[in-house]
């Protein structure tokens, strides 16, 4: 087990290095010159060269990447001499359009994204798993059919549509939330009500699609597991249906959900671009989309991409280790 974990850890680090390197190569290939954007209209060749140096773009991609790695560990100075700005470790870069270290931007955006992800996760897991289990237990009933419709709607409606519908009806039409308060950040520890007001609707929008998928997944897993031989064995022993469901069926049926849930949650930690955009939240998704579409803020894009992929890669590791604890066949393999 220890060998397995350390091996996986090694590959995780390797993978992250590769991901960040590819991000640098991809952005090098893009037909956008960030230096030209930053130095704007009245740009002389000298000024452009100067800006390029300031942004650290006057060296090869590999070297840019190495400097980035170095900055992650020991921090980094941007600009020259007196005008230099110091970003402490972990320095992801400096956003010249926001005049802030990328790490500062990320540290403000992340709590927003985390709040959205956690709330959505709780909602969709509760709804998805319980609907799925109930539908499986009452297979073929009216309830099961209603849940099938829910699954169909949830999986086919895109988030931007449900999001806009939620905004129009719940927020603007029924005034359940003050339109001016949309997207306002409140600290969940000091102002839990305000936090909930900000996040409940975007989280519900996001959770809707996931809950539908999880309902379907749970339902089919429970049905499939119920016809396993070991469930018949449990029944032949004389166990009650309640115990069979709880200890035998769900244990086996929900184990694969750990993997799915871990990866989905990690994916959201990188930012829910559409939902954040629709609800005007300044999370990782919100700032990424802005950096891509309006300000061409490459350091921000690099930063959010790397943070998002780190979450996914690390989640993969955690999920695999967790699964090995759940399923002895994996543990002993």
């Amino acid at each position: 087990m220890l060998k397995y974990v350390s091996q996986r850890l090694f590959y995780t680090v390797l993978l992250l290095l590769l991901v960040s390197l590819s991000v640098y190569f991809i952005f090098d290939l893009l037909p956008v010159d960030p230096a030209r954007l930053v130095c704007s209209k009245n740009c002389s060749p000298a000024l452009l060269r100067d800006t390029r140096h300031k942004l650290g773009l006057d060296v090869s991609v590999i070297e840019q990447w190495l400097r980035f790695l170095q900055g992650l560990f020991i921090g980094r100075d941007y600009g020259v001499a007196a005008a230099a700005i110091h970003c402490p470790a972990p320095a992801f870069g400096y956003s010249f359009s926001r005049h802030e270290c990328v790490s500062t931007v990320l540290s403000h955006a992340f709590p927003v994204t985390l709040s959205l992800a956690v709330l959505a996760f709780i909602l969709w897991m509760t709804v998805g798993v319980s609907l799925g289990v109930l539908a499986a237990r009452k297979k073929g009933s009216i309830f099961d059919r209603v849940s099938t419709v829910f699954v169909l709607i949830g999986t086919s409606l895109p988030t931007f549509l449900t999001g806009v519908l939620v905004v129009i009806f719940i927020i603007l039409k029924f005034n359940l939330v003050d339109p001016l308060e949309i997207g306002n950040w409140s600290n969940p520890l000091t102002d839990p009500i305000g936090w909930l007001q900000t996040f409940i609707w975007p989280a519900a929008t996001l959770a809707f699609a996931y809950a539908a998928t999880y309902t379907r997944f749970t339902r089919s897993n429970v049905i499939e597991t119920s016809s396993e031989d070991f469930i018949r064995t449990a029944r032949a022993k004389g166990l009650s249906e309640k115990v069979i469901l709880r200890k035998h069926t769900l244990r086996a049926a929900l184990a694969p959900l750990v993997t799915l849930a871990g990866l989905d949650f990690a994916g959201l930690l990188g930012g829910a671009i559409i939902t954040e955009k629709v609800f005007g939240l300044d999370g990782l998704g919100g700032i990424s989309i802005e950096a891509v579409t309006s300000s061409y803020d490459l350091p921000i894009i690099v930063g959010t991409t790397i943070v998002a992929s780190t979450f996914v890669v690390v989640a993969n590791l955690i999920v695999d280790i967790t699964y090995a604890f759940i399923d002895p066949r994996v543990r002993h393999a």
């Binding site: 018949r232 032949a236 022993k237 184990a255 399923d327």
Partner: protein, 344 residues
């Protein structure tokens, strides 16, 4: 010997879109404590369906069951087919136990062997988890698993097929059931392991004076361990007799076909060719009104007036405690068989 289980006129059918599948058609059999009843028949003849009905393991929403299955318990007889679900559940594992064909998938992959046996024990016994594990070790010892106190903490995938079937037997017997139904317990195992498991079952039966129902499609297996045999064909019992009667005094053409399809050792295999019965059993959805075996029966032409096609024969006593379902008498069947052999 006192009869423990008495199945009478058991009908089991499964409603499907194409019509009801009548998988068990007026089936009766019984087994006494200390006795082994073998139920033999081709795949699909309804052996499992009948016994799953006795155990109450059919999905009640998708199965129609009628008839009776009386368990003669010390506290009085009870019909498990009409008793409430909860009552039958409390008989499972205690009064009656069952083991299944495929030991590879019959154990929960996420729990240790010990946990799974202890869980069965805890249903009918007071005691701590540790007591349950201790009992599990005893049971594993009993069924011949070496190093039981260590292996009790291992998971199913760490056991071989034969060892898993031993685990299943240990689990089924942990509460000293009076009836053990073994549904093709050795089919998935290789030949040497098969005979070990059968011997183990026979030993345990003596030790605990259990009633055992051994389901198999292999008459060779039956010869070693059974006291009586019921032969099933297409959802019906077609012959039922003590073991020697079946082997040396067969009254039914189908049983004869089954016997011809196993290698015999009594003449060193010389001169006997293995003969599978040609053809397929009829559909269980539109049950023929005549004898279900008619289409495949070499003897049908010896019955006059198309009787085999028109009328399904009753199960009648052909000789003392020897029942058969055929329009021919036992004597006629033997004579015709001898004639046929003579011609060849």
């Amino acid at each position: 010997m006192s009869t423990f289980l008495e199945v009478k006129n058991l009908h089991v059918s499964f409603p499907t879109e194409d019509g009801a599948v009548l998988a068990s058609n007026d089936v009766s059999y019984s087994v006494a404590l200390g006795e082994t009843l073998a139920i033999v028949g081709e795949s699909g003849s309804g052996k499992s369906v009948a016994n799953l009905a006795v155990m109450g393991l059919h999905n009640p929403q998708r199965t129609k069951i009628s008839g009776s299955a009386i368990l003669h318990l010390p506290e009085g007889p009870i019909d498990v087919l009409s008793a409430p679900n909860e009552t039958v559940r409390r008989l499972r594992g205690k009064a009656m136990s069952m083991i299944f064909q495929d030991p590879m998938s019959a154990l929960h992959p996420f729990y240790t062997i010990g946990d799974q046996i202890a869980e069965a024990w805890a249903l009918y016994n007071e005691g701590s988890k540790a007591d349950g594990i201790k009992r599990a070790v005893e049971m594993l010892d009993l069924v011949g698993i070496p190093d039981a106190s260590k292996r009790v903490h291992e998971y199913p995938h760490q056991f071989s097929g034969g060892m898993r079937q031993r685990v299943m037997i240990a689990m089924a017997l942990v509460n000293n059931p009076s009836l053990l139904i073994a549904d093709e317990p050795t089919t998935a195992l290789d030949v040497t392991v098969q005979s070990q498991i059968l011997r183990l079952l026979a030993d345990l039966q003596k030790e605990f004076n259990m009633a055992v129902i051994l389901i198999t499609h292999d008459l060779g297996v039956v010869a070693e361990v059974a006291d009586r045999v019921s032969v099933m064909y297409s959802g019906r019992v077609v012959e039922s007799a003590p073991i020697d009667e079946i082997f040396y005094n067969t009254t039914h053409p189908y049983t004869r076909g089954l016997l011809n399809s196993i290698p015999r050792v009594d003449n060193n295999g010389i001169g006997t060719r293995l003969k599978a019965i040609p053809g397929q059993p009829p559909s269980l959805i539109s049950v023929p009104k005549g004898c279900a075996f008619e289409a495949r029966c070499e003897f049908a032409s010896h019955v006059s007036g198309g009787l085999c096609h028109a009328v399904n024969p009753d199960l009648v006593e052909k000789a003392p405690s020897h029942f058969g379902r055929c329009h021919l008498t036992g004597q006629q069947v033997i004579e015709i068989a001898n004639q046929n052999n003579g011609v060849k």
